[in-house]
Subunit: 645 residues, 2 copies
């Protein structure tokens, strides 16, 4: 009776509520074990607070507290100074999965799924049976509302269990308090690390963290301006799925293909629209609502063949190289690394989503030489702590032949071994996480490629630096030898011949035959003297605000060649820094470099070039990146060939 | 105007349909790139077909076809001979996410989320804009119905685009045809491997696979009986979350705590129920619907303190050690490994879900000695192909100190290096996958522990075997030396003294001083002679059906001790095998071993013990596992001390 079976089975088929699904599959949300549950809960609440503040143009002031009433339970409290949430929305925002404001917007934000914070409330209810407590205040002249929330998992709806009007001593904000099953003993260290990393890449946020034993840590704000607000944009045509294109065409108000393409996508100017229509052999005036699948397919293919401008990047808020440097510095305080290099890629697109990749490498110091490099991952300014093994970042790093860049890599593939830390940040309007727990980036080819390119770029810098260093060390050895032994020989010979000791400078220059360039960077605390930074004008991201330090660079140029030398010298400086006193007078000052047309330097003579930088933190700038022009660069030690204009 | 902001934000808040969510987050479902998308699609369709057949007691007969009309597109066709699906259910089953029959059942099945197959349809629509075609026939005397399906992602509902009644030459079954974006060139190899692995651990299934170029592979059925059907059970109290307990109490029909505990949980007999109530200091008659959180908390704590019987295992369908062996054999056909060992753990529980862990290790042969061991992972009889790095299986293996078991492991942690393949199967009523793509098991402590224990067990066997081998080799060297040199010396001495060459047997036995046991296993094809297997009686899982081979074991026992020896010999044999002719007559035959009370063996004398096994495949059994009793086992080479009854 197979008929009976099919009918029998039909009776068992039923809908699964999304809350029920995740209640059963809590590990998918990052609550697989009590240690991770603690970190995930703090992370979701903090991400939410930061997003709320930034979206509303408020400098975030977060308070995080963890109580540990008994071994298996933690109470997590996170308060922000954001715009608050109106009462009617509280059950939806905090106790309904797949509900939110950020999912439908093409714009970089931490939350993008409409799951995170409700998942914490769900997990709390599941493991402790207690209700979450939400307090919200939407304006200074409003009272605050405090609500106790439960989730009806069969319906995926929040239910207010209790509510009251209270006084809350804050202009506006939201506070969440959830009891969860968690392993505080094992987890607290990670919470601290997570908050520290978060504060480094979000320097505009102030975070106070109170541990269960009452210890308070304050991660102070180091930038007083919000990062550039990420603007909502339209999807980019590159990599958009055919089905998405069809769906968009069904929902557009445009009545013509041309206006549909122009209005619903970014980077589609008139000329590109025409090129696409032409390539697809379709009339510009075709009604998109009446197009066939094959016609859409033609448009879709045309997207791939026509050159389309890169996506606008105002939807993205990268960390920036200075902050990446600073983050890496802070990770390596006790290691005194030899150098830090960074690289950032231009914006690219996957499935219509713009993204940028930024990377950094710290090298040397006390970092272990025989261990795999440490990998730090960030996505939309969130530190990723778990699932490193299957993250696109790791896969991309592992796919590079690092032996070419001076690292150990036993089989020419895999995470390289060496004294280094690799940092990656992916910023995108949509991070393709491998799961709702947002811990690893999926193996999207476009993203892996960009990460690979970024690391190749920074690896070349590392290699150049190491080569330069090796060359400089060798030259110095030669130089030391010459300046020590030759005079000895000269002295002895002169003595034997009873003649005066000859001047050896010419001989030395003939043997050395190089121009020697060396620099020193010193920091000086600014006292009383106000530093004029361009922060809020040219650098609204606040990525390199004052800190009250001046970096003084002294570049020594010695001519060990036998003829006078006259050439141009260039020094790069970090974006956002402000140039102070410079000597000698530079020929050109841009927002990223200084240029000097040096006067002719006689053999064995030395000149000093000095300049000051303000508007940077101590340590943001350790070493000058120097270039020369109008001289054969192979005669120069300490600077490379200027490739710019 | 913070007030304005909160109201403004409220307007943007909205529900996200689950279909829309996964359309955007297709990588979470395993469709992150076109290679994986191919494998995921085949996997979901095949899993569905197998589940449908098994649930209905039908031996699965699957047909899988992949067409590759152009470079970026594949058409995937999967047909089963299951019970079919009634027409009204087709849009729900195939085009509605979070809908199904297996989610709410505590029972081992492949599908458990109600997402998989609809996700394939969704991905197809998203990437090709084409509709999925479903054909279903629910009984021989019914016509088949063929339906074209679309998904309205805003509503998460299937929409029938076209339907017709057709003739389908099959008693009953379901056929799905989906066009998807996929990389056939890169993916086809993995599809073949996936189907091969699937067929090995599902020997009751016949799978025909037609490649795009028309090549057909048939993975024949090797067992004619379905695995024991996994029965639905109640959740076990161990590890159940407090919130789940409260929810169950709200939904139960029981009006008394005692009956609630007894009816809604497994392994709760009267005695256990009483112990729990007593420990929780609650009256047996308390109405569960009126209990407070604190009272539930007391019950929840009592669950941890009271000893509760292990969960019933009829809800589980493990692969079994024989099949694991066979799977490993097939993986290593060209490697001729030295040995294969397996171990399986008793059932355990996490979050109320019973589970068992089975493992196997293949060692030696041509496997590379300087590479990390290869890890094969299975969950509920599904091969897991991706995300190995973050799977509980890998974490558990990496956490063992393998150097203690003779493997290389550079830092005493991590995947060990050595000539081996490690297989793990986790069978559970709910596999805690790290994401909806079902590729890795989450870091649930209970599961990691069991995997660790299972591998320790099998590693000990490996080590014992290696030690035994080393000992045997050493003894044989000694033996060869003695039997070669002593006679030479004797001959020479006799010659010099002009005396007859003396008998050396006594001397040899005095020097050797051991009982030497050695075995040979030979296979013989059964021709014409019907093999009487107990298959459908004692071994309804069909895990070791005939195959038409007889394994003939010859165990040679030689007494190289100076006194006669009389002892008991035991030989273990695989479950499900059938014992044929045995000589000498055994004292005892159980379903897992044979026992002989051997007659006294004189010094230097040898006896042969032989027996036949039917009902196994060639190679299922390579080597006897031998034990001795009533003799000091340290005098015996080739058998260990019998620890049984």
């Amino acid at each position: 009776m197979p008929e009976a079976i099919a009918y029998e089975l039909a009776k068992k088929q039923k809908e699964i509520s999304v809350a029920e699904f995740f209640e059963r599959n809590k590990h998918i949300l990052g609550f697989g074990n009590p240690t991770r549950a603690l970190i995930t809960s703090v992370k979701e609440a903090v991400d939410n607070g930061l997003d709320a503040c930034e979206e509303s143009g408020i400098l975030p002031d977060l308070y995080v507290e963890i109580q540990n009433p008994h071994e298996e339970e933690c109470i997590i409290i996170v308060e922000d100074n954001g715009p608050g949430i109106i009462k009617q929305q509280i059950p939806h925002v905090f106790a309904r999965l797949l509900y939110g404001s950020r999912f439908h917007a093409v714009r970089q934000s931490r939350g993008q799924q409409g799951i995170g914070i409700s998942a914490v409330v769900l997990y709390g209810q599941l493991t402790t049976g207690k209700h979450a407590k939400i307090t919200s205040k939407i304006a200074n002249d409003h009272p605050a509302v405090a609500v106790e929330l439960a989730i009806d998992t069969n319906k995926n709806r929040g239910e207010i269990q209790h509510q009251q009007i209270i006084h809350w001593d804050k202009p506006s904000g939201t506070r969440i308090e959830v009891s969860i099953k968690a392993d505080y003993k094992r987890g607290k260290r990670f919470v601290y690390e997570y908050l520290q990393s978060t504060s480094i890449v979000n320097p505009h946020a102030r975070i106070v963290f109170k541990e269960a034993d009452g210890t308070e840590h304050t991660f102070e704000r180091t930038a007083d301006a919000l990062p550039k607000k990420s603007e909502e944009i339209k999807p980019h045509p590159y990599g958009i799925e055919l089905g998405t294109l069809i769906k968009m065409a069904k929902q557009t108000n445009a009545r013509k293909l041309a206006s549909f393409l122009k209005n619903e996508f970014s980077s589609m100017g008139d000329r590109t629209v025409n090129a696409v229509c032409e390539m697809a052999q379709l009339d510009r005036n075709t009604n998109p609502q009446q197009m066939s699948r094959d016609q859409f397919f033609a448009v879709h293919q045309a997207f791939k063949k026509v050159k389309i401008m890169a996506p606008p990047t105002e939807c993205l808020s990268p960390i920036g190289e200075t902050l990446i440097r600073r983050s890496l510095k802070s990770e390596t305080q006790e290691i005194s690394p030899e150098f830090i290099f960074t690289a950032s890629r231009p914006a690219s697109v996957f499935s219509g989503n713009p993204f940028v990749v930024e990377v950094g490498i710290v090298y040397g110091g006390n970092l272990p030489k025989d261990k795999p490099v440490r990998i730090l991952r960030f996505a939309n300014r969130i530190p990723l702590l778990y699932q490193q093994g299957d993250c696109a970042v790791t896969t991309a790093i592992a796919s590079i032949d690092w032996r070419r860049y001076g690292f150990d890599q036993p089989s020419g593939t895999g995470v390289p071994v060496g004294p280094a830390i690799f940092l990656t940040h992916v910023a995108s309007t949509q991070i393709p996480y491998t799961s709702e727990s947002k811990e690893a980036i999926a193996d999207v080819e476009e993203i892996e490629n960009e990460i690979r390119l970024a690391f190749r770029e920074v690896a070349r810098k590392v290699q150049t630096h190491i080569n330069k260093k090796v060359r400089r060390v060798k030259t110095r050895e030669k130089f030391d030898l010459i300046t020590k032994i030759l005079p000895e020989i000269a002295k002895k010979s002169a003595h034997m011949l009873n003649k005066p000791v000859p001047s050896l400078e010419k001989v030395i220059t003939r043997i050395m035959d190089v121009v020697w360039i060396e620099d020193v960077v010193e920091y000086e605390k600014v006292r009383g003297r106000p530093v004029q930074t361009k922060l809020n004008v040219s650098n609204p991201t606040g990525q390199a605000e004052s800190g009250g330090w001046i970096a003084k660079s002294t570049i020594m140029v010695v001519n060990y060649k036998s003829k006078p030398q006259k050439f141009n010298l260039y020094a790069l400086y970090p974006k956002g820094a402000v140039v102070g006193e410079v000597h000698p007078k530079p020929t050109k000052v841009t927002d990223s470099y200084l240029k000097w047309s040096l006067e002719s330097i006689e053999p064995t003579k030395k000149i000093d070039v000095t300049y000051e930088l303000a508007g940077i933190n101590k340590g943001d700038f350790d070493e000058n990146d120097l270039y020369v022009q109008n001289i054969n660069p192979s005669f120069v030690i300490g600077a490379d060939k200027w490739e710019g204009d």
